[in-house]
Amino acid sequence: MNSRLLRLTNAAVIVGFLALPALVQAQISEYQEKQWLDTPAATSHIGNLTGNAHAATEPYRRYCTVCHGELGDGNGESAYWFDTPLFFKPRDFTTAVFKCRSTPTGTLPTDEDIYDSIGRGLDRSNMPPWNTFSAQMRADLVAWIKHYSPRWQTEKPGEPIVIPPEPEVTAERIKAGQDVFNRVQCWKCHGVEGRGNGPSASTLQDDQGRPILPYNFAEGGRFKCGTSDADLYKIFMTGLDGTPMPSFSDNIKPEEAWDLVFFLRTLQPFHTKAKELAKGLNLKPINPNAPPPSQ
């Protein structure tokens, strides 16, 4: 062997040696995740459906890996296409932080929450609705998603918030709702007319430090976390974890929360009973420079 070849072999051996830990690590993580696949956490219960993670191996690989990644960390092949400001990165399932929850901020969502998100998709992002999948397949995918984070091994989902039955919408309630919007200052981010242009809007960042805009009610896009009145109630009472959108459950009473729902509906460009009633009210946008409301 001439000395040049020897040096090359040496280099190859060294490179191989250095690469070894990386390889081992990859194996460990796969090994670890495989272990989690066989734990009770890697099942889901939606109504009387039971989801099984193993059954989702193929569908996940086929439909979700491109964005959410083989390891569930949100770094799929196409993820970097979205890695421009104001695009939403695919969710990193290893941290188990979810936007759409019926459970309090800082807790795991329920199986139903994740199931609903998969079927609904997340508007204003690249997460499509997977509503052509069978219910069983979606339940299996929920179970699969739960095998990615150690949190599912040690934590239980939060206790879903209680949503009282929706009262009748009235003009008084809409007006009271505007007072809540004013008092808790949703307008700091969403703007006095809900156009997503509040004084803090331009500086907002998500938990990864990426720019993010508040929802613009006047544009009328679908909410990410469901379109019903109860969904809207849930959105501001649990917050969208991973984003600046906080939970208000400590400071808005259930009755007031319904008032706020009715007021928010008047900001959207849809025909609703709330919007009809608001016409008669002649509500003026709140004045952000008025002295702060006293409690």
Binding site: G106, P199, P246
Partner: protein, 249 residues
């Protein structure tokens, strides 16, 4: 992925080493009254300029700083060169019992003049603390623990007059950044330690109380300068001394 659970070997070996060290040190701790560790944390070099904060986006905030404009608080240096808001804690040598004792005091983390008071709050694992607001503007309080630490982030609003949020942290973490998305300049820290700790005052002085007799490694943490350690031996009921110096960058 840098998450710990994807690489259990280093974590495991660290745990084993920690356990062995623990057992060895635990042996040496003699019974005796509890002592203290006192000292000063100083800056070697000129104190960096702390930038002023423009709060004009929220008049409720800026009105409270009319006489003296608010500045950043990342490196607060007193007249004598002492650094404020440095957290001192025992990073090695505590017995399991001393490390898991939780103080009964309940510190407050206040939102005041659209700044965090204190800027750095140290607490023990499982020690209850309160997040309060003194401001007539809405804040959202948003701690961001790292993934895999055992601490879970959350994000709650506190409008004017909101009741305190009472909570705790479940795992050691040095340190958890806390921010308010509504007021992007608001930035503070929760430093979660195990066992006795102290935070330096405006002259850089500190006293760690309730330290059982023994030999320890004390770590000083400063948000910009990182950590420094010192070996300290505390005799039963006595005050031990440990001074630290950070070099200005």
């Amino acid at each position: 992925m840098k998450t710990w659970y994807k690489r259990p070997f280093p974590v495991l070996s660290a745990l084993v080493i920690a356990a062995v060290v623990f057992a060895m040190v635990g042996e040496k701790v003699k019974a005796g009254g509890e002592g203290t560790i006192t000292g000063t944390v100083k800056l070697n070099g000129t104190a960096p300029h702390m930038k002023g904060i423009d709060m004009s986006k929220d008049p409720v905030c800026s009105q409270q700083h009319q006489s003296k404009p608010a500045t950043m608080e990342n490196i607060m240096v007193g007249a004598n060169g002492g650094i404020q808001n440095v957290v001192l804690y025992i990073s090695d040598g505590l017995s399991a019992g001393a490390a898991s004792a939780v103080p009964s005091e309940e510190p407050s983390f206040d939102q005041k003049g659209c700044m965090y008071t204190p800027h750095v709050m140290a607490v023990d694992v499982n020690q209850k603390f309160k997040v309060v607001t003194s401001d007539q503007t809405t804040h959202n309080i948003h701690p961001l623990p790292a993934a895999g630490t055992g601490n879970i982030g959350w994000n709650k609003s506190q409008p004017p007059g909101a009741p305190p949020i009472e909570t705790d942290w479940k795992a050691q973490e040095i340190a958890i950044p806390v921010k308010c998305n509504i007021h992007p300049w608001m930035h503070g820290w929760h430093v979660v330690v195990k066992g006795p700790y102290a935070v330096t005052d405006e002259n850089g002085n500190f006293t760690i109380k309730n330290v059982p007799a023994g030999s320890y490694t004390v770590t000083a943490w400063q948000e910009e300068y990182g950590t420094q350690t010192a070996k300290v031996t505390v005799a039963g009921g006595q005050a031990a001394k440990a001074d630290f110096t950070f070099k200005a960058k």
